[in-house]
Structure formats: structure tokens, C-alpha cells
Amino acid sequence: MHPPKADPQGAPPPVHPPKAQSRPSAGADSSTPAASRLAVRKTYKLFIGGAFPRSESGRSYVVSSAEGEFLANAAQASRKDVRDAVKVARGAVAAWAGATAYNRGQVLYRIAEMLEGRRAQFVDEVRVGEGLGKSAAESAVNAAIDRWVWYAGWSDKIAQVYGNANPVAGPYFNLTSPEPTGVVGVLAPQDSSLLGLVSVLAPVIVTGNTCVVLASDARPLPAITLAEVLATSDLPGGVVNLLTGQVAETAPWLAGHMDVNAIDLTGASDPGFATDLEVAAAENLKRVVRPDHSEDWTAEPGLDRMLAFLEPKTVWHPKGI
């Protein structure tokens, strides 16, 4: 087992998750020293309101590597966890939507800094969870961090690109500006456990929305590690809430929740299931992003994922002396 490499920026080397040290797993070197240290294993919990509670149901489920080896027990979120998370997300809207765009951009950039600091840990989790070679895992993690930096820069520009003054035919001031829609439910991609996750999450929060994210069923560990990054990045508690568990169980409650404004169904890989969720979402006319199974996470995103969660508001005022 190779000891963890020092981070080039001088940060202390990240602690590997216990799986890499105490269990054989794909790609692990078998030259473990005879007197190997007993690892302190991580408990993977939910991320709600900036804290890491267990599921109120007390349940957990087994997360395995791509080769089927045991990796961890992750919390298995329940309906009540979803409802609690939505409540917390709603409570966080005023402060996050009301923060300046500059402030949101600063927070997102800080998140990118924290991601960079943990790069090796993410590479390991992605490699083992998705069954990738080291180089492919590194590419994915690099792309995820760079994606995060790209989105951070949009915070104080998207309004300029999507909003505008309107030249109406009368003496009126008329301005259209985009506002965040509010609370967004997100089904993270099932397969791309970090790059795909970042690609659906960053556009939601850079635009001032809060969210409840349902992590990939089988590959949730990078999501919880990402939550740890979020918790140390000045992101106000409740802006991102992340639930691990069975999406088939939790997604219907999220899609049908009357206090959720929009839902991204990317992680609903079965078309019939995605349809049922879209029908449930129609009850309060949520804005829906449908799954696109041909989505290439490595391509530069356009604006669509930001525009999907923005509401243009048009204000008129007469001009007169």
C-alpha cells in the first residue's frame, strides 16, 4: 500500500478512507507493511443544515466498490429526512438568494479551493467507486474542480447575460432580471459520482437557489466527501442538503413535495420512473429538468442548467417629471 502523497500545495496529505488501508480493493497495492496501522473508519452520514445527522430511520446500507468489495455503510435516508431537508433548504433561501452575487462567487471559489486540497481523496473514492484507472479518475476529479471554478465565475454575470432592459413603446422604465426559483430537488447522476454531481449541483447554487440532493444510489461516497468540503467552505448551512439512500424510495417524496420549486431528474435513469416523478412534480407546477442520457459531462456546459432555475422578473415604472 503506497503511503499518501504530499499535496503539492503543502497541505497535509489527506487521510485515505479506511477501505484503502484495511481491505483489499481493486488497484490497491499488496505490499502492506507487516505492522500496518488500524484505520479509524469513517461513518458516512447525511448532510442537512450544515450538520451530519444520521437518518432519522436509523437505517444504513452497504456501499460497494465497482468490483463488489465492501466500502462503507452509508446512511439510508427516509421520507422524513427528505421533508426535514426541504424545510431546512427553504429556511436557507432568504439568506442565500439575498446574498450578493459577489459573495456567492467567493463562497463557490472557496469550495473549489477546498476541493483542490482534497484532490487525492476524491481521486481514490472515484477510482474505487466507479472502477476507473488512476488516470481516468484524476481526469474526472480535475474536470470537477475546474467545473466548479467555471461556475463560481458566473455568479455575478449570469444576470447580465440573462437579464436586460426592454425598450417598451412608452415612457416607462422596464427591466427584466433573473431571480432564483427557490428550493431545487436534484437527483445526482447515478454513474458519474463527482464530475456529474458537481455539474448538476454548482449551477443550482451559483444562481442563488438552495437544494436537496439525492446522491447516486451505488456511488454516494464522493458526494458525502463533497459535503464535508461544503461544510468547511463558508457555505451557509442548509444551502446544500445531501441525502444518501435509495433514490427509488426518496425521489417520489421530493418530486411530490409542495414546497419544492424545481426538480432535476438527471439521476432517474429508468424512463418510467422519471415519468412518474415528472407527473408528481406537476402537482405544484415545478420546473422540471428531464434526464438526458447522452449528456457528456466532460463538455463545457452551456447556460441551460443555470437558466432552468432562474425566474425572469420584469419591473415597470412610469417616467415623468
Binding site: 447575460v161 440573462y162 436586460n164 426592454n166 425598450p167 417598451v168 413603446a169 412608452g170 416607462y172 422596464n174 427584466t176 426559483t181 420549486n261 424512463p271 418510467g272 422519471a274 415519468t275 412518474d276 415528472e278 407527473v279 412534480a281 406537476a282 402537482e283 405544484n284 407546477l285 420546473r287 428531464r290 452551456g302 441551460d304 437558466l307 425566474e311 425572469p312 422578473k313 420584469t314 419591473v315 415597470w316 415604472h317 412610469p318
Partner: protein
Amino acid sequence: MPTFEYAPAPESRSIVDIRSSYGLFINGEFVDGRSGDTRKTVNPASEEVLAEVVEAGEADVDAAVAAARHAYDQVWGRMRGADRAKYLYRIARVVQERARELAVLESIDNGKPIRESRDVDIPLVAAHFFYYAGWADKLKHAGFGENPRPIGVAGQVIPWNFPLLMLAWKIAPALAAGNTVVLKPAETTPLTALAFAEICQQAELPPGAVNIITGGGETGRLLVEHPDVDKVAFTGSTEVGRAIAKSVAGSQKRLTLELGGKAANIVFDDAAIDQAVEGIVNGIFFNQGHVCCAGSRLLVQESIAEPLLDRLKRRMALLRLGDPLDKNTDIGAINSAAQLERIRELSSAGEAEGADRWSPPCELPARGFWFAPTLFTGVSQAHRIAREEIFGPVLSVLTFRTPAEAVEKANNTPYGLSAGVWTEKGSRILAIADQLRAGVVWANTFNKFDPASPFGGYKESGYGREGGRHGLEAYLAH
């Protein structure tokens, strides 16, 4: 009663020529319906039958969609934007040439006063076609990608409150972006849409680019659920919008919805009171209150509630209700017996729940569908008349003390289409506008519309915007 006796000033009907029956406009021609079902359309001010129109059935909807598909694949979807623009400019010009005729026809079929159809509806129709004509060859500058493509065939269903204007809001951006259209006007107001079909012929629009099929709810359902429709646009009730959203689930169909509203019109104690009164009256009595963005809830600051209500009642007593074709008329007919019944039922509920009802003395004509302008005071947020959309000339009045209370009450609704703010303090205008969860905020004005200005709702008032650059988004593939 009005203090002045005005002589009647009727606009002449002779300019319109209403046929006794109309076919469907498919592939550039008027054709008979295939099922033989028809429906009569009625003048709501007199209950006279105006004409018989087709109730389009499945075969008719299939034919219309097929015509739109063929036109999209072969002609319109391939056409240069500059040429699409020229067709749209032609249409805008013909609308202007026939403006008086269209305004009279609209008032006869819909019941709205001629002053509104002449001065608001029809001019905006022409303006929408002019505005979107100009976008047709500039789409790459619209902010939706470098090479934006149309979506394909659009199925569009519109309401009866602004028949030709709602048609313009739907057809102009769709055609400009390169889509073809099958549009169903509302069952009670088909005539201006059928006149528009003639205008398409006069402009020599390629056959099949626009198809107009008349019918009721079932025709609409057949159209929005048709498998060869790529994009659905609907304006109407939240209830039907919700059903449509469910019906497109799991398909690739794009959807935009413009649904109901229960807008708060907020008047602060430092508002310009006379202007605010005009704005309140315009907000709820324009178009007989048949407006999704009507200012149907007046939220007035407690300290000025009494003097404001005095002036409001005095102003309401001067409103003239009567013949829509009379140029003196302020309030026309309610569009249908069904709508009149709904307004009556909700107004009775208002009284039953304990609000205080007031109308000025108002003589209603013997025939036709009429409702006197009505005001309810002592309304609470829990009352049905504060929560449900009445879609009639009925204003619910609530009070507030602090700005925070006004905002909370204004936002306390599943709707989110529009809102009004009246105050002379600039910083307050901007702060309150920021906090209102509504797609359109009118500050010190109300019910202003323009083709360059995006219109649409938050929450259960729907999604998507019509008008402006944002109005193109729904009609471009991405």
C-alpha cells in the same frame, strides 16, 4: 349613476362581415370538419348567435398537425430567417390595415369594450408581429446559443380573454424562430382567429405554417397530446395547466404555461392617491377583470384605507357598463354564461364568509351576461375571494400596517404572476419589487403590456415567458 348623460356613440358593425359558418384553416385553406360536429358562437352582450364553427375531432387534429409537420420539414423550417421576417412583417401590416374591422369583431365575439379592443388589443397584436419579425434573422444574437434551431411543430391553446392578442403572443415568436403552428382558439371566441387565417392567406404565408382549428376542451386535449407535436404552449387555468404538465411527462415535448393569478396591488400611505385609484380601477375592471394578471387583491395601508376607499367607490360609481360597441363603455359583457355563474358563486361565497360587499348602482341590460363592478372589504387572507381567482370585476380589499406584512400577504398565494406597488418613495419601490414573488411587477402603474417586455409567472402561475428576448427561449431547441 354617471352624473353626465352621454349620448350613445356606437361603433358601426357594418365593417365586419361575419359568415354564418366557418371551416377549419388547414394547409392554407378553409376545409370542412371531418366529423360533422359544430358549435355556435354567441355575442355575450346580446346572446345573439353569430356563427357556427367546427368542433375539430381527432381526424381534423391529425390533418392539421400533418400539415404543420410537412410545412416545417419542407418549407418553413428550412427558410432563411430574413424571409420568415418578411412574412411576419406582411402579417403585421395587414393587421394594421384591417385594425378597425378586427377590433369590432373582437368586441362582438368577446364582449370587451371597443375602446379596449381598438386601443389596446389590436395595436398590440400588430406590434407583436412587428417585434418578432425583427428577431427572425437575428436569433444567434438572442443569447440562446450560436446556432439556435427551431423545435418543430408547436401545438398552442389560447384563452378567451384576449383572443387575437393571445394568438399573436403564441404565433409570432413560434414562426419567427422557424417553428410551424397548430393553434386552437377558445371555444367562445373563435372569430378573430378565423379572420387571422384569412390574413395569413392575404400575406401568402406558405400553406401549413399556421393552422387554426376550432373546438372545445377535447380538441385542445387531442392537440396537446398529439405525438407529432414537439412543443406545447398553453394559456388558461392552473387546473388545466397542471393536467397538461402531467400529460407531457416522460415525453420530449417542451412545455410553457401561462396560468392563473391572484395579484396583490399594494398601496402605501405615501402613494399618489388619485393615480393609485386609477391604477386600482384599471387593475381589476379593465377587460371586466378577465385578466390573469388582474390586481384582484387590493392591499392598502391601514392609515389611508378609509380615504382611499372613499375615492375608489366614487370612481367606481362613474364607470359605465353597457354595449361593448359604444365608445363610452368602460365595462363590457362577461364572456359567457359559465363565467358569469362562476363570478356569482364566488361573490356569494364572499358574502357568506363574512366580507362586506358593495357595488355602485348599476343598471344591467336585460339580455346578455353582465356583472356590476364589485368591491369586498373586511376580507381576510383565508376567504375564498382572497385565495381563488374570480376572473371577473370583483375586487377584494385587505389592509396592512407594515411593509413586511404587505409583502408577506402579497406572497401568500400559490400563484405568482403579477403584483402592483404604489408609493412615491423610490427606494421602497425597488425593495418591495425585489421581494414580491411575481413575474411582472408594476410600480406606480398597472396592466402595461408590450411585445418587448417578457410576461409570465412564478410558482403555480406557470413557467416560461412571452414577449421580449426571453419569449424566444421556448421556441428554440437546446
